[in-house]
């Protein structure tokens, strides 16, 4: 399923809404989650999962081709943990 298919499904279920509003609704949800993570916040959606940000410390990396060492700066990476309900549903419980 891709974004446009998700929008389509929501539009079909909500014939009283304009297509452009449905698009805005779906886009707003994903933008809010991304914005929260960019601020370093967590987004917890019970039953579905939780988005959070993890810190990766600075380290000395290595160019795998040349073997040369390169400093890698500290950075933050997005992380998702599946919620219990969805995890159970994936396994037919």
């Amino acid at each position: 399923m891709i974004r446009s298919e998700l929008i389509q499904k929501i539009a079909e279920e909500n014939p009283h809404l304009f297509q452009r509003d449905v698009e805005k609704i779906v886009n707003t949800i994903f933008e809010e989650i991304t914005n929260a993570m960019a601020r370093g916040d967590r987004v917890e959606l019970r039953g579905f999962g939780a988005f959070s940000v993890k810190k990766r410390e600075a380290r000395i990396g290595r160019n795998p081709r040349t073997g040369e060492t390169v400093p890698v700066e500290e950075k933050y990476v997005p992380f998702f943990k599946t919620g219990k309900l969805l995890r159970d549903r994936l396994n037919g419980k």
């Binding site: 399923m1 909500n14 949800i29 929260a36 993570m37 916040d41 940000v53 933050y76 997005p78």
Partner: protein
């Protein structure tokens, strides 16, 4: 790190603000978006949201695990796990951290 946690309520508040739907309708729409994504994943489908990321279901085969406390061997049944791969856009926006 600001360490704030957003919930469904914050997402529906954003819809209320951005689209002008009632709070009640907004929260129902958040719910149906999550429901459709979950249903697709449970049916084994991948969910690919451009510029956000991709959720995919992976099959894990059975293996023998070990209780780290007792050292006891326990069988781990085959199972399906969900993985999320963030888009480049999300990675770039998150990378610099809360101050960036």
């Amino acid at each position: 790190m600001s360490d704030k946690t957003l919930t469904r309520m914050d997402l529906s508040e954003a819809i209320f603000r951005e689209v002008g739907l009632s709070r009640n309708d907004s929260s129902q729409l958040v719910e149906s978006v999550l429901q459709h994504m979950s249903d697709a994943l449970v049916s084994g489908e991948q969910v690919k949201i451009s510029s956000f990321g991709t959720f995919s279901v992976r099959e894990k085969s059975a293996r023998v695990g070990r209780n780290p406390k007792t050292g006891e061997e326990v069988p781990i049944n085959p199972r399906r796990v969900l993985t999320f791969r963030p888009s480049h856009l999300m990675k770039d926006r998150v990378a610099s951290g809360p101050e960036g």
